[in-house]
Amino acid sequence: MDYTDKIAKSISTVKPSGIRRFFDIVNEMDHVISLSVGEPDFQTPWHVREAGIASLEKGKTWYTPNRGFKELCSEIVKFYKRKYNLTYDPLHECVVTVGGSEAIDIALRCLVTRGDEVLLPQPSFVCYEPLTIMAGATPVLIETKVEDNFRLTAAQIEEKITDRTKLLILPYPNNPTGAILEKEELEAIAEVVKKHDLMVLSDEIYSELTYGGKQHVSVASLDGMQERTVVINGFSKSYAMTGWRLGYALGPEPIIAMMVKLHQFCIMSAPTTAQYAAIEALRNGDSDIEAMRNEYDMRRRFVVGSLNDMGLTCFNPEGAFYCFPCIKSTGLSSEEFCTRLLQSKHVALVPGSAFGDCGEGYARLSYSYSIKHLTRAMELIREFLKELKDESNR
C-alpha cells in the first residue's frame, strides 16, 4: 500500500535527524570507538536506583498526579532556589514531564502556533527545529560563531526580530558546542526580549555541568524575566538518569496550566518509579553531581588539550560534555571527515552539520567516556590526521 497520502504532510516533510543517519552507519560496524553518544557514561547513583527499587517493592505502580508528585515538585522548586536563586510555587508553576524533550515539545505547542516565529540559535540540539515546525510555527535560525565563543548575542537577536517573533529558545549550556551564556550576555539578551515583548524557552538540561569555576545563570533569575521564561530541566544529564525519562518545566502559572492540560491528554503522568527515584536524587544527590562534574572536567581538559595539540583547533567548552573542534584545516566537509575517520580508524564523532548548517566545518565529540577510552581515541584521531597530511603531500 502506498502510504504517501495517508501520512500527514506535516511530519513526512520534516527532515530526519542528521545524527540518526550517521548512527545508522556506525551501527553497521564492529569495534567502533565511539565518541558520539549524548548521555553520561556513569550509572545512576546507587541510592537513587535503590529509591526506585524500593518504590516498586512497595507496589507503588500507579499513575502519579498529572503534574507529578507534589513532593517531587516541591524538591524541584527547592533545587532551583538552592542552585539558581529562583522562587517557584510547586503547586502551580511546575510540571514533571517525560524527559526534558517532552517539556520542550509541550512548551512549544503551548506558546506558539501558525504564523509565529521562533528564534533558534544554532548549532544546537536537533529537536528544537522539528518540534517548532510541528507546533505550526516558523523557526528563524541564528548562527552563533566561534569568534563569539558560540555565544548568542543581543545584537544577533535584534537583527532577526519581526512583528511575528514570539519566542526565543535559549539552549545553554549548549549541545553540541559546550558554550555557556554568562550574566552580562543574558542581561543584554533580556533587555531585547523585554523590549520586544517576547517569551523565552530556556533549556537548562546541562545547567549542573559547567566548568572552570563558571556557574550556570538562569535567564529567569534576571530582573523581569521570570514572568517571560519557561525553564526546562531534568534529571538525565545531571544525575545520569537518561533512561528514567524524567524532566520538568518551571514557569508562569497560566502557561504551566496549559502545559499540564496538554501533558495530561498525551502522557497522563511521567513515569512513577522515576519520580520516586528523582525525589531521592534531589534530596541527597548534590555530591553525586559534584563527583561527576569533576570527572567530566578532567576529561574535558584532557580532550581539548589533546585536540589542540594535534592541530584540530578547539574552542574551549565551558559546559555540557561535548567539545566541538574545527576540522576545516583538513579540507574535508564535516560529513566526509567523520565518515573517513570512522572507516579508517573506527572512531565515531558526529558531523557538526547535524546540528544545523552552520555546524559545517566542525565535529561533535562527546567526552562522556573513560580516560582510557578517550586516550585511545585521541591516538587514533592523531594517526588519522597524519595520514590525511601524508596523503595531501603525496
Binding site: F23, V26, V37, M298, R301, F302, I371
Partner: protein, 158 residues
C-alpha cells in the same frame, strides 16, 4: 584527597603529559610532584591489576587470620615485620576485632600454602592461633571489578 594520587592509584599508566592535561597543571610540576611522592615513600610502586583467575596455573591465594600475643613495648610490629619478610606473603594488616593480623598469602597449590602455615606461621613464637581461608573466585581487585563486561550499554540515539 590529592587528585594526582587519586588518578595514579586508579591508573598508574597515565603519562605525565596526560596527567598535566587532566589536572590543568604544567607537566614539569606534575613530574616533580610524582618524584617527591616516590622519594618520600608515599608512592611505593606501580603494578598492574591482574585477574589471576584468567591466568592458567597462577596458583592459589589464601587470607589468613592470626591471633598474636603482643610483645611488651613493641606491640605487633616485630612479629608483623618477621611475617612480611616471607615472599609468599602478599600483604599484612593489623586489624581491630576478633583477630590481630590479616595476611594474604599466595602459593602454587593448597598444599604449598598449608605447609607454609603449619611450618612457619603456626610455629612462630607469639602466634596463638591461625585461621586459613582459601580464595575461590575474584570478583573485584583493588577497586577494579573483574566481572563487568567491557561493553558500553549505551545505545546510539539522537
Amino acid at each position: 584527597m590529592d587528585k594526582l594520587l587519586q588518578l595514579l592509584s586508579e591508573n598508574s599508566s597515565l603519562s605525565t603529559e596526560q596527567l598535566a592535561l587532566m589536572l590543568g597543571e604544567p607537566e614539569d610540576y606534575i613530574a616533580a610532584q610524582i618524584k617527591e611522592y616516590e622519594n618520600s615513600g608515599v608512592i611505593r610502586g606501580y603494578r598492574a591489576v591482574v585477574n589471576w583467575d584468567e591466568v592458567p596455573d597462577s596458583g592459589v591465594m589464601a587470607m589468613i587470620e592470626l591471633k598474636v600475643a603482643p610483645q611488651l613495648q613493641k606491640g605487633f610490629d616485630d612479629i608483623a615485620e618477621r611475617i612480611l619478610a616471607y615472599d609468599q606473603v602478599e600483604s599484612v594488616y593489623l586489624m581491630a576485632g576478633a583477630y590481630d593480623l590479616l595476611l594474604t598469602v599466595k602459593g602454587k597449590t593448597i598444599q604449598d600454602v598449608s605447609a607454609f602455615v603449619a611450618k612457619h606461621l603456626a610455629a612462630m613464637e607469639g602466634i596463638l592461633a591461625t585461621a586459613t581461608h582459601f580464595m575461590l573466585k575474584r570478583y573485584k581487585e583493588n577497586g577494579v571489578s573483574l566481572v563487568d563486561t567491557k561493553k558500553d550499554g549505551r545505545e546510539m540515539v539522537i
